[in-house]
């Protein structure tokens, strides 16, 4: 087995473990192949996902979940519960300056942050992935044209295009923010997908399939895309991490989803003004954001290294 050092970035936490054995297929061996760091990170991501799902369920079905109250409910006005409380059985992470339950806000904040990140991933994987695979396979003028467009969009420094696009909309609902970030996510995914499609299309069996006259769409979906997906998935984790920070930056400038819907970023933004009185409403969302971004990066890296090892094994 050859070295994986030709990938740009690899984390020493995980590479050695991968190199030790064959790359397994199937779910259980897949899980078993995870080093402990990846397992922890995955569990954290699952919890985050569950929190977002829970918040969505509450939102859609108007139900109650244990430990969760309305994230905007002002416990001071209605129950005379003081603001800026410490943790208690009632408020697991205390209350903020508006006497709202910080834990509930954190969970609800997950809804926005995760939804924005997942929308970006969905746009990127589906549209960017398809587009990139397609042009990577068919090449020619279409490729030149589409990649030129991708170059243009990537020619804008990150955040700047987003700032301008977000200001076009007068109301910044979750849908608007997700859609804008989603659309902007297509270009980088296209580039990654194309690169991988190129190398997949050059593999002998793919060339052979095309030589014997297999329909292009069949080749695309049977041969190219399956080879692009693993690399793209690994990229998706790292990209989702970036999106989470970007949403936080927008919120820090007061330009993310508008209140009262909490997001991690807007919680940081709002808590900052009161950090001298009560720093915890600032710490919790910051920590959760860092953990999640960290987990996404770690898992993404691991998948990258895994793919690289697999690709190397195939060559």
């Amino acid at each position: 087995m050859s070295t994986v050092a030709d990938t740009d970035i690899e984390s020493p936490l995980i590479v050695e473990e991968i190199l030790e054995g064959d790359t397994p297929t199937g779910f259980r061996p897949f899980v078993r192949s995870m080093p402990w760091t990846i397992r922890i990170a995955s569990v954290w991501l699952l919890i985050t996902l569950a929190a977002a799902l829970g918040a969505w369920i509450v939102e859609i079905f108007n139900t109650k979940l244990p430990g969760l109250t309305d994230p905007n409910y002002n416990h001071f006005i209605f129950e005379q519960e003081p603001a800026n409380q410490g943790p208690s059985a009632k408020f697991w992470l205390g209350t903020d300056k508006l006497a709202r339950d910080v834990f509930s806000r954190l969970v609800y904040g997950t809804r926005v942050s995760v939804t924005v990140a997942l929308t970006a991933v969905a746009f990127g994987l589906v549209l960017g992935g398809f587009l990139g695979s397609l042009v990577g396979m068919i090449r020619g003028r279409t490729e030149t044209g589409i990649m030129a467009l991708v170059d243009v969009i990537l020619g804008f420094p990150p955040l700047i295009l987003l700032l301008v696009m977000v200001s076009i909309f007068e109301t910044r609902s979750l849908m608007v923010i997700s859609a804008v970030i989603g659309v902007l996510s297509i270009a980088p995914y296209t580039r990654v997908a194309r690169a991988n499609a190129l190398s997949a299309a050059n593999r002998e069996y793919v060339m052979a399939a095309r030589a014997i006259g297999a329909k292009p769409m069949r080749v695309l979906f049977r041969e190219i895309i399956p080879n692009v997906v693993p690399a793209l998935t690994a990229y998706a984790f790292v990209a989702a991490a970036v999106i989470m920070v970007v949403e936080g930056s927008l919120a820090f400038l007061g330009l993310s989803v508008q209140p009262p819907d909490p997001t991690w970023g807007s919680m940081i933004f709002e808590a900052r003004g009161d950090m001298r009185q009560n720093i915890w409403p600032l710490i919790y969302p910051s920590a959760v954001m860092v953990f999640t971004v960290l987990a996404l990066n770690v898992v993404g890296d691991w998948l990258f290294a895994r793919n690289a090892a697999r690709a190397a094994a195939l060559d």
Binding site: N72, I77, E170, G254, Q258, P259, F269, G273, D274
Partner: protein, 603 residues
């Protein structure tokens, strides 16, 4: 004056007022009132004031004699950058005022009784019906470029002011028609209508700030970064958004009581720091040695970290709150307005702003310290009573005639909108919570950036009705109640202005900044009458009637009065206790607008 010109000027005023009236850091207000230390007694909820809060008179008696320490640099952290330093063109709010007053002098200042007193002028006398004001200028004052200040300067200034974006509005609002030099140092202001409060306009930017008209005419654009005035500091350099530096004006006309020329400081550096948290960090860390703020939360935090700082707090006449667009259903029904205001938990909102013990709940445009304050209006103001409020709204919902076109019994849909500022967002969410809890209102919260916020309220597209529903707003009372109240409650649309002019038989000015769109001919009459007399009691009675009407018809609602703060390191004195040239005590530091010419370091 031609009506169309009046309209134009009113519109220009709109822009000036807009920047001042709303949102983020803007606060165009010479507030009247006294220092926090003095007002503490009136406020039962006030926490113990920190020991370092300065009072207005304290240091005048502690000035050590014959030991004048010249020199030193004050670096003042401002909450926003001044767009430009052209008094006729750039609208100027509290942070910018600190800069303006350093580079320019005003014709009149406000004394501690909140009366205009001479500054660059020595005297201002009206004729019998307040349509003509003769102002006498001080002798021997020169501009930074060596030109002498004469009556001709003021006349030439007016030519520039007439077309200025900021001054045009003030000219319209004051009723100023022409300015003529009627002597070497005598200026005659001729008004188009009586205005007994005209001198108040000369205590403020844009009309009161004296700039060198020659330099302004020669390079109007360049003046934005290179102002020429008569002020205590001369512009040295200006790096927009980083630092603007003024150095001591060696030829300043004013001396202290012992005859030492002012100012004492070598340098004033103005540094805009938009982030409230970093501004406070900057003074605590010693990066800067003075700062100003209009945010209650920052005042609270500054009090907490007051070690080594002197705090100059001011409970001003600025009133924060919001307004309804009363031309748009359902807000055209007073039951809805009143019902919603009953859900406005002032205490909780002030707390959300961080202002508990700092900011007083407001019941009118005037703070309890103001001479214009009316106890009757305070008693008449809508109490916090969500149940009664819900009942009022329910009454509207069950009305077959309800104006919003919905089926009887259906809940109200309202939109609450503020600019994206953390403390405004917090306040908005408190209001939203109580409204939602009433069960009769569905609330949507929106956050528009400043430009959009104003545009939706201006509503040029729909005859100045606007698209807004409930908007965050802040009123500042300036030097005289008429400055804020008249434009807010003049005819809100050109159409109404035309109809009213015909019906009342007098020219009713249209005011695009009448954002609540509330038109009340009777109230307009009171407001007009109040600027036709200078009898204080008569005027006060008229303004009391206005406040009572506002409490009854509630086109606007209040949260709290805006407390303001200038903090300096405690090796500095002189921000309080400054006097006007004739020796009366000045107004201090209202709206966090510092007069830095007497500030000095105490070794």
């Amino acid at each position: 004056m031609k009506k169309s010109l009046m309209k134009l000027l009113a519109l220009l005023l709109a822009f000036g007022m807009i920047a001042a009236a709303c949102g983020d850091s803007d606060d165009d207000g010479d507030s009247t009132g006294t220092t926090a230390a003095e007002s503490d007694g009136d406020d039962a909820t006030t926490t113990a004031p920190p020991t370092t809060v300065a009072t207005q008179v304290e240091t005048t008696t502690t000035l050590p004699e014959d030991t004048v320490d010249y020199g030193g640099t004050v670096t003042l952290g401002l909450e926003a950058e001044a767009t430009g330093l052209r008094p006729w063109e750039d609208s100027c709010s509290s942070p910018c005022y600190n800069m303006f007053i350093a580079f320019f002098d005003k014709l009149f200042e406000i004394n501690s009784d909140f009366q205009p007193v001479g500054w660059l002028a020595t005297d201002g006398t009206p004729n019998a019906d307040f349509t003509e004001w003769v102002v006498t200028l001080r002798e021997g004052v020169t501009f930074h470029n060596g030109e002498a200040l004469t009556a001709k300067s003021i006349e030439d200034m007016f030519a520039i002011q007439a077309t200025g974006a900021a001054s045009g509005g003030a000219i319209a609002a004051s009723g100023l028609g022409s300015v003529a030099a009627t002597g070497e140092l005598e200026v005659t202001y001729t008004l188009t209508r009586p205005n007994s409060a005209f001198l108040a306009f000369l205590t403020r930017s844009p009309l009161g700030m004296v700039f060198e008209p020659g330099a302004a005419a020669a390079d109007p654009d360049g003046f934005a970064d290179a102002p020429v005035g008569t002020g205590p500091f001369v512009i040295d350099s200006r790096d927009v958004d980083n630092e603007t530096v003024g150095v001591r004006n060696a030829d300043y006309w004013l001396a202290d009581d012992d005859g030492n020329t002012l100012p004492y400081l070598d340098e004033m550096r103005f540094r805009p720091i938009p982030d409230e948290g970093t501004r406070l960090s900057s003074i605590v860390s010693g990066t800067i040695n003075a700062m100003q703020t209009l945010r209650q939360g920052t005042i609270r935090d500054t009090r907490d970290s007051a070690d080594g700082l002197t705090l100059y707090e001011f409970q001003g006449n600025n009133t924060g709150g919001g307004m309804f667009n009363t031309l748009v259903p359902p807000y055209d029904d007073a039951r809805v307005r009143k019902g919603l205001i009953m859900m406005n938990n002032q205490e909780a909102i002030i707390d959300a702003l961080g202002g508990t013990g700092i900011s007083l709940p407001a019941t009118q445009w005037f703070s309890p310290d103001s001479p214009w304050y009316s106890q009757d209006a305070a008693d008449a103001w809508v109490p916090f009573d969500p149940a009664a409020g819900a009942a009022l709204v329910q009454d509207y919902l069950d009305d077959a005639e309800r104006t919003d076109g919905k089926a009887v019994g259906e809940p109200l849909d309202v939109e609450l909108s503020c600019p994206p500022d953390p403390s405004l967002i917090a306040a908005m969410q408190v209001f939203e919570q109580v409204m939602t809890a009433s069960g009769v209102v569905n609330v949507t919260i929106t956050q528009f950036d400043q430009a959009t916020h104003i545009n939706t309220a201006l509503g040029r597209e729909n005859g100045f009705v606007g698209e807004h529903e409930i908007h965050c707003w802040r009123w500042s009372n300036d030097a005289d109640p008429s400055l804020g109240l008249n434009p807010e409650f003049s005819a809100p649309t050109p159409e109404i202005a035309a109809e009213a002019s015909e019906a009342l038989g007098v020219a009713v000015p249209f005011s695009p900044t009448a954002f609540s769109n509330y038109w009340d001919p009777e109230m307009f009459g009171w407001l007009a009458a109040a600027v036709q007399t200078d009898d204080f009691d008569e005027r006060k009675a008229l303004y009391e009637q206005v406040m009572l009407r506002l409490a009854d018809q509630v086109p606007v609602y209040y949260s709290g009065h805006t407390a303001t703060l200038i903090a300096t390191t405690d090796d500095m004195v002189g921000l309080n206790g400054w006097t006007t040239p004739d020796g009366t005590l000045g107004a201090g530091f209202p709206a966090a607008e510092g007069r830095w010419h007497r500030v000095r370091f105490t070794g």
